[in-house]
C-alpha cells in the first residue's frame, strides 16, 4: 500500500501563483525528489531534473457519458515514469489554468495500472486574492478548481485589504466549505500543508466537518474588531456551485443505501464534483467510508466503531445545481 507513489495536483487560474508554489516545493531543502508533469504552456521555467511536458488530453470513456473521463496523457506519462521508479519520491502535476481537476482525479480511479502504482494525494488550488472573485463570475474552470480542492491557497494576500480578503474567503466557503484554506504571499507555505495530505485516502476520511475560518482572523492594523456573531463571517451561497451535507444518527440499511447512492451518481454524476461519507450501517461493527468523483465511487470498511464514539452517518456532496431536497429525502429513506 504505502509504496504507491503519491501524486499532488496543482491547479489554479492563470497567474494565481501555481508555478511559484511549484518552484517553492522543488527548491526547499526537503531531500525529496519529484517527478513533475507540467503543461506545455507553462508560465515560467521549472528547475527540476525530471520534468515531463504534457498535452492535457481529456478522453471520454466509451460509455457515452460526458463526465466519465480520463486524462490520456497522464495514463501514458505515468506508465513511462514508472519505468524510472526509484528515481523519485513523488509526482506533482501542474495543470493549465483552464484545466478541470476531475479528469485528473478520475484517472487514478479508472486506470488500473495508474491506480496500482500511484495514489492521488490531494488537489491543491492556488487562488489569486485579487482576481478570484471576478474569475468565479466569468470562468467556470476557476469555480471547478475551488469546488474540487482539498487545499486552497489564497495567494497574493498582500495585494488586497483585510475586507477584500474576508470577502473572498466567504466566497470560497460558499462553494467549498471543506477544503483547508491558507492565506499566502508569493505562495509561501509550509510544505506539509500541501504535500502528504492523503486527502483521497479512505483511511483518512475521518473528518468531513466544514473547515470554518480560523477565529484568529488577523488584525491587519485597522484597529477595529468586528463584533458580529459567528466571528465576523460573511456567508455566501454560490448560485451555481454548492455543497449538500447530510447527517443522521439512525443506522442506515446498506441494501437501501448502496442502490440509492449508485442511482444518484448514475443520474446526477455529471453535476456532482466530489462526495465523501462516513456511514454507520445497522448491525455492522465497522465504519464504512466512501468517496467519489462524478460517477466513480470508491468505498470500504475502514475500522470498527470505537466504544463511546458517536455512531452517526455523515455524507457531503459538492457540485453544480445539486437537487438538495431530492438528495436529502433519498438519504433519509436509507435509514434501516
Amino acid at each position: 500500500m504505502s509504496d504507491k507513489i503519491p501524486v499532488t495536483v496543482l491547479t489554479g487560474y492563470l497567474g494565481a501563483g501555481k508555478t511559484t508554489l511549484l518552484n517553492r516545493i522543488l527548491s526547499e531543502p526537503h531531500g525529496k525528489k519529484y517527478a513533475v508533469i507540467v503543461n506545455e504552456f507553462g508560465e515560467i521555467g521549472i528547475d527540476n531534473d525530471l520534468v515531463v511536458n504534457a498535452d492535457e488530453e481529456v478522453f471520454e470513456m466509451n460509455n457515452g457519458c460526458i463526465c466519465c473521463t480520463v486524462r490520456g496523457d497522464l495514463v501514458r506519462i505515468i506508465d513511462g515514469l514508472m519505468k524510472r521508479k526509484g528515481k523519485f519520491d513523488a509526482i506533482i502535476i501542474e495543470t493549465t489554468g483552464l484545466a478541470d481537476p476531475a479528469p485528473v482525479a478520475q484517472t487514478f480511479f479508472v486506470d488500473e495500472a495508474v491506480g496500482a502504482k500511484t495514489k492521488l494525494d490531494a488537489v491543491v488550488t492556488v487562488a489569486d486574492a485579487k482576481w478570484l472573485k471576478d474569475r468565479l463570475k466569468d470562468a467556470p474552470e476557476a469555480k471547478n478548481q475551488i469546488a474540487f480542492a482539498d487545499v486552497i491557497l489564497i495567494n497574493k494576500t498582500d495585494l488586497v485589504t483585510a475586507e477584500e480578503l474576508r470577502e473572498i474567503e466567504a466566497r470560497i466557503r460558499g462553494i467549498n466549505p471543506y477544503a483547508k484554506l491558507h492565506r499566502t504571499e508569493r505562495a509561501k507555505i509550509a510544505l506539509d500543508e500541501v504535500l502528504g495530505r492523503n486527502a483521497f485516502d479512505l483511511d483518512r476520511i475521518l473528518d468531513i466537518e466544514p473547515e470554518f475560518l480560523h477565529r484568529d482572523d488577523h488584525d491587519h492594523g485597522d484597529g477595529h474588531h468586528h463584533p458580529h456573531p459567528g466571528g465576523g463571517l460573511k456567508h455566501y451561497h454560490d448560485e451555481e456551485m454548492q455543497s449538500v451535507a447530510l447527517r443522521t444518527e439512525k443506522p442506515l440499511n446498506p441494501d437501501k443505501f448502496f442502490p440509492w447512492v449508485q442511482d444518484l451518481v448514475a443520474k446526477d454524476g455529471p453535476s456532482i464534483l466530489r462526495c465523501k461519507g462516513i456511514l454507520s450501517f445497522k448491525d455492522d461493527p465497522a465504519r464504512f467510508v466512501f468517496q467519489g468523483v462524478h460517477m466513480i465511487l470508491d468505498g470500504d470498511h475502514q475500522r470498527a466503531w470505537v466504544e463511546g464514539e458517536k455512531r452517526d452517518s455523515r455524507i457531503v456532496f459538492i457540485g453544480r445545481n445539486l437537487p438538495e431536497e431530492k438528495i436529502r429525502q433519498g438519504f433519509e429513506s436509507c435509514v434501516a
Binding site: 515531463v52 511536458n53 470513456m61 466509451n62 490520456g72
Partner: protein, 337 residues
C-alpha cells in the same frame, strides 16, 4: 494464492535462470540471442556464451520492437536507437524537442515508425523520413503486413497512413473512446485495437465493419496472433482469451476460446511462431504453454514472486524467454524446449 498446477506436465527444469537485476518490460530474440528490455537504460543480452548489458538510453526505455537483425528502442531521452545482436548501436533518430519516444514499430524493407508528442514518423528503407500529425497523441503503431501502411491508434479511432503517397489522405477508422494499442491480422484483413476500457475493437479493412470484443476483467495489454493467424490470443482475464479470425467475419457472432483458467490474471501472451501453441504469463509469475486445439497445458515456469511482464519466442520456436516485473531482482529466464 498461487497455482501449483501439480498434475500438469512440466518443463520447468529446462529453464536457464537469468538475474535481470531490474524490471523486464519486453524480450525479443535476435537470432540465438535473447534481448531483455529493462525499464531503464539497458538491454540485457543472453546467449550460450553468457550475459552482457548494453546501455542504450539515458533514461527509461519506453518502447521496443525487434525484427531480423536488430532491436529498435525509443527512450525518454528523445532518441531512437537500433542495436544488433553484437550490441552495436546506431541512432536512428533524435527528436529535435527531446520529447519522449513513446512507440516504435518495424515494417517491411527496413522501415521504422515511431511517435513523439502528437506526431508519427516513418523512416523508409531508403532513409527518407516522413511525418504525420495525429488527431491526438498516438497510443500505438503497427505496420501492415504488406506495402508501406502504418496504423496509428489514438483517441476515437485509428488513422491508416500511406507514407509513400504524399497526396493520399489517410484513411480513418472511427470508434469512440481511447485506443491504446493496434495490430493488423497477419493476412492484413483486420485491424484490432485494445482500448482504455477492458475490451478490444476491430475493423474489417475491406468495408470498415466494426467488431467488438469484450468480457475482460482488465485492460488488454498483450495481444498476439497464433501461427497462421487463425486466432488472436489476449491477456486481461484470468484465462487466455482467443478470438477466432478464420472466417470472413472474424470473431463476429462467435465465442472466443478460453484456455487455462487460473487464480491469477494473464498479463502477457506470446504465440509459438510455427505451432498452434500459445505461451501465457500470469500475474503470479506462472508461465504455461497451451495447445490451442484442445487446451492441453504444460507448465513452463512455476509461480514466483512477481508478475510475468514479458514473453518472447525465437524464430524457430525452440526457445521461450520470459521476464518479470520486480521482486527477486527482476528474475528472468530462457526455456529450452
Amino acid at each position: 494464492m498461487t497455482d501449483s498446477r501439480a498434475d500438469t506436465a512440466s518443463l520447468t527444469d529446462r529453464i536457464r535462470a537469468i538475474k535481470a537485476g531490474a524490471p523486464v518490460f519486453g524480450v525479443h530474440f535476435l537470432g540465438d540471442v535473447a534481448v531483455f528490455v529493462l525499464g531503464e537504460e539497458v538491454l540485457l543480452f543472453a546467449d550460450a556464451g553468457g550475459e552482457r548489458r548494453v546501455g542504450v538510453h539515458a533514461g527509461a526505455i519506453l518502447a521496443a520492437a525487434a525484427a531480423d537483425w536488430r532491436i529498435v528502442t525509443g527512450g525518454d531521452d528523445g532518441r531512437l536507437v537500433a542495436t544488433d545482436a553484437q550490441g552495436n548501436q546506431q541512432t536512428v533518430a533524435t527528436d529535435e524537442k527531446r520529447r519522449w519516444i513513446d512507440h516504435v514499430a518495424l515494417g517491411p524493407d527496413g522501415a521504422v515508425a515511431w511517435s513523439a508528442g502528437k506526431t508519427a514518423f516513418v523512416r523508409t528503407g531508403k532513409g527518407e523520413v516522413r511525418f504525420l500529425d495525429a488527431p491526438s497523441t498516438p497510443a500505438g503503431l503497427a505496420f501492415a503486413p504488406k506495402g508501406l501502411r502504418l496504423a496509428i491508434a489514438h483517441y476515437n479511432g485509428v488513422t491508416l497512413w500511406f507514407p509513400n503517397y504524399v497526396d493520399a489522405a489517410p484513411e480513418k477508422f472511427a470508434w469512440k473512446g481511447s485506443h491504446l494499442g493496434v495490430m493488423f491480422s497477419p493476412d492484413g484483413r483486420f485491424l484490432v485495437t485494445s482500448m482504455q476500457e477492458p475490451m478490444l475493437h476491430g475493423w474489417r479493412l475491406a468495408d470498415g465493419k466494426d467488431m467488438r470484443m469484450s468480457g475482460y476483467a482488465a485492460r488488454v495489454r498483450s495481444l498476439d496472433w497464433s501461427a497462421g493467424g487463425g486466432f488472436l490470443a489476449t491477456s486481461g482475464s484470468d484465462q487466455v482469451i482467443l478470438w477466432p479470425f478464420q472466417g470472413k467475419d472474424g470473431p463476429m457472432g462467435k465465442q472466443p476460446r478460453l484456455l487455462a483458467p487460473a487464480q491469477a490474471r494473464v498479463g502477457v501472451v506470446a504465440c509459438h511462431p510455427r505451432q498452434p501453441v500459445v505461451a501465457a504469463g500470469y500475474a503470479d509469475g506462472m508461465v504455461l504453454l497451451l495447445r490451442i486445439d484442445d487446451g492441453a497445458e504444460i507448465l513452463a515456469r512455476r509461480p514466483g514472486a512477481s508478475p510475468v511482464t514479458a514473453l518472447g519466442w525465437d524464430a524457430a520456436g525452440a526457445r521461450l524467454a520470459f521476464g518479470t516485473e520486480d521482486g527477486e531482482a527482476g528474475e528472468a529466464g530462457v526455456l529450452q524446449l
